[in-house]
């Protein structure tokens, strides 16, 4: 392992510790009927984050099956949290003033600076910025360190089990690719594209990216399947510029991301985080823009690629 990987593992272990804290919070909530299984969910997840990379991969595979069984049986629920009342936050706000913004804004700036000037990579920059933010929270806000534990576990529990969905979707994409789902699609699509029709090929590729992303919730997984299944045989082999096809292909998939509950971390998890009444309100707000962007992608690819 190189230095950056070691740093990454430290941050993933910290994430694991946060999961453990959520699990402990559930264990202590004696009123919660599912407290044992809820705690098990978070502890197993923590185990994969901390020990997973050092063990044979099939062990993490087994953990994923157990986690899925627990959520399938509805044995994972939110436990009781120490939620600050509006009176408390208002009182704190009046006492502290605008200084309360400093740690939050510092995360953003520290991440840019760390990603730009430190040689640890963009992923580690996120972790570094979180550490900077936490130190500032302790110094500027003078929050007790205990607060990091209670409030961190509270927000994580608020996000809930759906927080690991993107990671699982990536694993699903890997299985789809290994199974050759792309080949099946390419042989099916060849019926739809008339010989030499560039515009129809562009439309089918862009819509295919969006559609597959909508189904899988993951533009990355869709890209490897649809580009190999449609983009190469029907566009690039017909003389389309691969740079244009590749760059626009992935963002065409993102038009689909805007439309799908499968992209839970962008469309569903935030509505839980924002406590909306309508859990699909984000997707509804995004649909018109997604449609306009899809048309823009088709036109750009058609005129720039050939």
């Amino acid at each position: 392992m190189n230095t950056n990987q070691i740093i990454s593992e430290v941050f993933y272990s910290i994430i694991g510790i946060i999961f453990i804290l959520v699990g402990l919070k559930a264990l202590r909530d004696t009123a919660l009927k599912t407290r044992i299984t809820t705690a098990a969910f978070w502890f197993i997840l923590a185990f994969t984050f901390i020990a997973g990379p050092h063990l044979p991969y099939w062990i993490t595979g087994v953990c994923i099956l157990v986690i899925a069984a627990l959520t399938a049986l509805k044995r994972v629920e939110q436990s009781k949290s120490d939620v600050p009342s509006p009176e408390v936050t208002r009182k704190n706000a009046d006492k502290l003033g605008y200084k309360v913004f400093i740690p939050a804004l510092a995360i953003a700036f520290a991440a840019v600076l760390a990603a730009t000037f430190l040689p640890f990579g963009a992923n580690n920059a996120i972790g570094i910025s979180a550490v900077v933010g936490l130190i500032l929270a302790l110094i500027v806000i003078k929050a007790p360190p205990k607060s990091a534990v209670t409030d961190g576990a509270r927000l994580m529990d608020n996000v809930g089990s759906v927080g690991i969905l993107p990671q699982l979707l990536a694993a699903l994409g890997a299985l789809f690719t290994a199974a050759g789902v792309g080949d099946v699609i390419s042989s099916g699509v060849s019926v739809l594209i008339p010989e030499g029709s560039r515009l129809i090929a562009v439309i089918i590729y862009c819509l295919g990216m969006a559609l597959f992303t909508i189904i899988m919730g993951n533009g990355f997984a869709a890209f490897s399947v649809i580009t190999v299944g449609i983009g190469l045989p029907f566009l690039i082999s017909q003389g389309a510029n691969p740079v244009v096809v590749g760059a626009l292909g992935l963002t065409a998939g993102y038009c689909g991301t805007l439309c799908t509950p499968m992209a839970a971390n962008f469309n569903i998890m935030p509505s839980a985080l924002l406590e909306t009444n309508d859990k699909y309100i984000i997707i509804k707000s995004q649909l018109p823009v997604a449609a306009v962007m899809m048309v823009a992608h088709i036109l750009l690819m058609y005129f720039l690629a050939f």
Binding site: A72, T89, A148, A174, L232, V243, L274, D278
Partner: protein, 228 residues
Amino acid sequence: MELLKLIGVVIVLIGFVLKRDTIATVVVAGVVTGFVAGMTPMEILETLGKSFITQRTATLFVLTLPVIGICERYGLKDKAVDLIRKAKAATTGRVISIYLVIRAIASAMSLRLGGHPQFVRPLINPMAQAAAVAKYGKLTEKTEDKIKGYSSASENFGNFFAQNCFMGSSGTLLIVSTLVEQGQNVDALQIAKMSVPVAVIAVVVGIIHNLLLDRKLSGQYAAKQEVK
């Protein structure tokens, strides 16, 4: 029976349409696809486990939750409302649009931080809500939801469509590695440059969308006041 390989896609579709547990749906779809493709149980577990471990990056947002949680306890939302009350000129659509521009620029600079917990919940949504409250008084729950939706949407617009402008972004590197693997000679700088037009178009379309929200709100609440 080549078509059988698409069974995973079908399972995902059915699982979501019937609102089954999302995590279980995805895992079942993956396992069944593996079996249909003739993988052994061990190969399926290995593939699942390996990509789950390498994709832990998707869960990095968790690291920022303690700081956000503390800031919320100590009145971040309350001060955001205080702040926007001072800026009387700002409208909901303009607040969200300003954020869209900032988010797109940050995203193009490789800043992918999970902006919903970091910015939208503690900062942008309270500001956008407060702008509407300052203008129209008490809002209906439906309007509150709508503003939450638009705030989160602009986060996604800026994040998705601008992120590939950065050479080292994972999306850009995915495009490069996929195409190089297929014998195409492309590099990250080319892909990053070619991603700029879409980023600019997304910001413009998003701003228009947000300003239309302002018009909708003023129409809706002006009509209500006349009824009174």
